[in-house]
Subunit: 205 residues, 4 copies
């Protein structure tokens, strides 16, 4: 009964197989035969506590998901380097034709704390190879006293960055694509939504 | 009753709130108070059909997750550019101290098909800004006639790339970190695990 | 892919086994080793749409459940006949020491409709061997024009009948046991709770 | 954060409402508009650890469920007394037209232990008003040294009793109705199915 965490995941997969492939194959069949047709791209944090599928009770096929540290979107830069997040956004928007992009931030975010530490002390992340550079995408968002404010500001930067992608901006202009900024307050379990007109976050749940 | 997909996610979040924060707050409390302590980093595809939490029935706090197109790991390159996947690996390994990294590939992967198309015709993805460059990380894996083989080969490339990160290689050497390659066969619901000694994939589920 | 309904249940059980016995045996272990210690007895309808575990998201071990047609409690009658519902109430109260009894009624109840039909026409159920007699437990509750009212009245009769059991009445008097009347409005998904002082049903959800 | 068990059920209901009525109303809509059409009647124990919906992962609408102490079926006796289990069987078979009846027994059953105690000592349950009489339905099944054997024997008695109901026997004869005996081994999580030809229980899961 001494389960290592990987064996647990395998056992969980066995349950998934039984429930989706044996008990209710109709849940999966179309997704295999026809392919995926998600309507939503979600850009979320890698944080283990903020899993988009769990917190939205979504089913296979519903959300195309990018997860990186601090749910950041870098600015458009088609420079021939490896851009994982940008490639996923491109695939979702141009190949799959999603109708919504949600940036899902959250409280107590380690990536944002790293950003804030850097803002106070440039050398704070000097011992790291990638994290400091990555979170600098939302650079000025780190200039807040409270991490809640920095997290909310970073979501706004990512939304602004999204609009630097020409094929995102076009679709937003034409009404084919909507952008959303959500902040999950992990202590209370509330969900706050950015009102893009006022810049304030309104409680949705 | 005409639900748009975002409203559905909000409703799902309302259910999550009721079940995790009202009915069983003990499920979440430690994760908030103590912080996350995941033992596993999973690098998975953004594909909406291959959600790690759903297919492993995992709970909040169990897996730190990166999702990008075709679940790829680029080689170690601390060059000051934005490296989202590498930053997440660094945070998981160096800050959180995960004990396992799982590369989770899958069949019918659109990213791998793009890679294969590029292998046959260099101009296949020339109309894309990021996807072609991104999937070229696993370049030679595209030289297969069948996408299943290409997907399995790409997982191996990502595992090799993981070992180019010095702090990954050290921990693997010392036994503090295990690497795993899994391939989810979406048509059948089977899970295949790479035997890193033989190079073959063995059916686990 | 032609699943008969029993094979589906077996497949579902296989999933349950994987998730509860393989992935998270700690969910079950104490219930096996120590035994059940439910705090709640629920008396619910056999109706397939009104499953107590599903509609309350309960876990194994939480609710001791009786299900019969129209969630009825007959009056105390220790006459040597077979009394299934009374035996279950006795076991829950005297052996397990539950602290709450919930009568869970619901709208669109076929048993209550049978009762109402009998109230209008004594011969309505004459072709049935047991159903007519069984639902007559809540006899006068059938004298309503609307089934909602009949269902709510029947819950009150069952609560009154519960108090005819001496070991229920004693525990209610001493404060060791609480009685609750709930009515699930299946069309809207609302839950209404009987205010036993006013006799009215108040919306809880 | 001091949740009483009833408040937890209410919170769980709130989650059910959000997930079934707000997020995926299509899950429920037909069941309300068209009515229930379950194919399976399950007769299960009231034991809180053996919830049919949980252990078979069933959805609303799939199983019409009777639960009583020790999942017993009394013999056919249309004598004008209150027969809750018989009324539910009648409603399921004659009104709903179920195609399968499953008797679901289980190990560590308190009701069967009471039966065994009575078999050894007639006065064992003399302090109880209903339990002793109720479990005597499967009287001779109590004459076993091991509770596993008594539980399995009791399932057989209930199946025999089912065949004393003329409208059950007719449908079984015509092939319109199948009877099943299952025994859930709670310690191991295995499911055993009665082979009605050999009288043995075969492991299904």
């Amino acid at each position: 009964m001494t389960h290592n965490p990987v064996d647990r995941l395998i056992a969980g997969f066995r349950g998934f197989h039984a429930l989706y492939y044996e008990q209710r194959p109709e849940r999966i069949r179309d997704l295999v035969d026809v392919g995926q047709k998600p309507k939503v791209l979600m850009i979320a944090c890698s944080d283990s506590r903020v899993d988009p599928a769990i917190i939205t009770n979504s089913e296979p096929g519903e959300i195309f998901i990018v997860r990186n540290v601090a749910n950041m979107v870098p600015p458009y830069a088609p420079d021939g380097a490896y851009h994982g997040t940008s490639a996923a956004i491109e695939y979702a928007v141009r190949d799959l034709g999603v109708e919504h992009i949600v940036i899902l931030g959250h409280s107590r975010c380690g990536g944002i704390r790293a950003l804030m530490a850097s803002a106070q002390d440039e050398t704070a992340l000097s011992g790291r190879d990638f994290v400091g550079q990555w979170v600098s995408i939302c650079g000025h968002a780190g200039n807040h006293d409270h991490s809640d404010d920095a997290e909310k500001a970073a979501i706004k930067v990512s939304l602004e960055n999204l609009l630097t992608f020409p094929w995102v901006a076009e679709r937003v202009s034409s009404g084919a694509l909507d952008l959303h900024g959500w902040w999950f307050q992990i202590e209370t379990g509330n969900l706050w939504e950015l009102n893009r007109e006022t810049g304030a976050y309104d409680k949705r749940v």
